[in-house]
Amino acid sequence: MSERLQAAFPGLGTTSFQITSPPDFNYNCIAWAAGVVSDWWWPIGDARETYWPEGPERQITLDAFIAAFQTLGYAACGNDSLEAGFEKIAIFTDPNRKPTHAARQLPNGRWTSKLGYSEDIEHELRALEGAIYGSVVLFMRKPL
């Protein structure tokens, strides 16, 4: 199982990571970063197919994702350092700046991600950068 993940995300092969849940169709990475396990968050057009917060546009743009996390109290911040009293998320985009993934920082400074409809993992943030998720382009934080 780990080999499958390492093949998809080569960075996991050179850093430590743990699988923390079995595969689950019920939520995706954006929901997991938002602390939700009951919905699939994605801004496609038909509201009967995916969840997206009221207000932000249903567009696959970085602005729409920023606005979605703002509805939860997050604001953009400068880095991935662990800050007492705050929870952080990181948004990944492809080279065209289309969002692909989000991860959430844990109290120990490591990061947790739901991989599509596959497993949750605890990992080093940059270990998921690459062909599938692109790169981290933005950090946001909210007070705990």
């Binding site: 169709f25 699939w40 994605w42 509201a47 009967r48 197919e49 492809d94 991989l115 599509g116 599938i132």
Partner: protein, 111 residues
């Protein structure tokens, strides 16, 4: 962005039943989309579109899968049937969407 480049379009194998074809396409679809969150890319994958192209005969099989476990077949069924029993308030809640489709299947005598 997908895990590996999709084979487009998936080729039908001779003599396959609808269920065999479904399982083959499902395996390809899962292996190439399992790490994606982008619902648009998941449903636009060639294997997913090939499952939709199987049409009405695959609907009872998808409903049977949903009976066993909620899944993303809730995104295939509207594209096959042209119907969608899911209220907008339940959009994205895969278990509730599954329940709506199972109720729909019962009303249609498909399960």
């Amino acid at each position: 962005m997908i895990t590996t480049p999709p084979q487009s379009p998936p080729r039908p194998a001779m003599g396959e039943t609808t269920e065999q074809r479904l399982r083959r396409l499902e395996g390809q679809w899962k292996s190439e989309t399992e790490f994606l969150s982008d619902a648009g890319k998941i449903v636009e994958h060639p294997a997913f579109k090939a499952i939709i192209a199987l049409g009405d005969p695959v609907v009872p099989l998808l409903l049977s899968d949903l009976e066993a476990r909620p899944s993303l077949w809730v995104w295939a069924l509207p594209r096959i049937t042209g119907e969608n029993p899911v209220p907008p308030s339940d959009g994205g809640n895969i278990p509730k969407m599954t329940d709506a489709w199972l109720k729909w299947g019962h009303e249609k005598g498909l399960r």
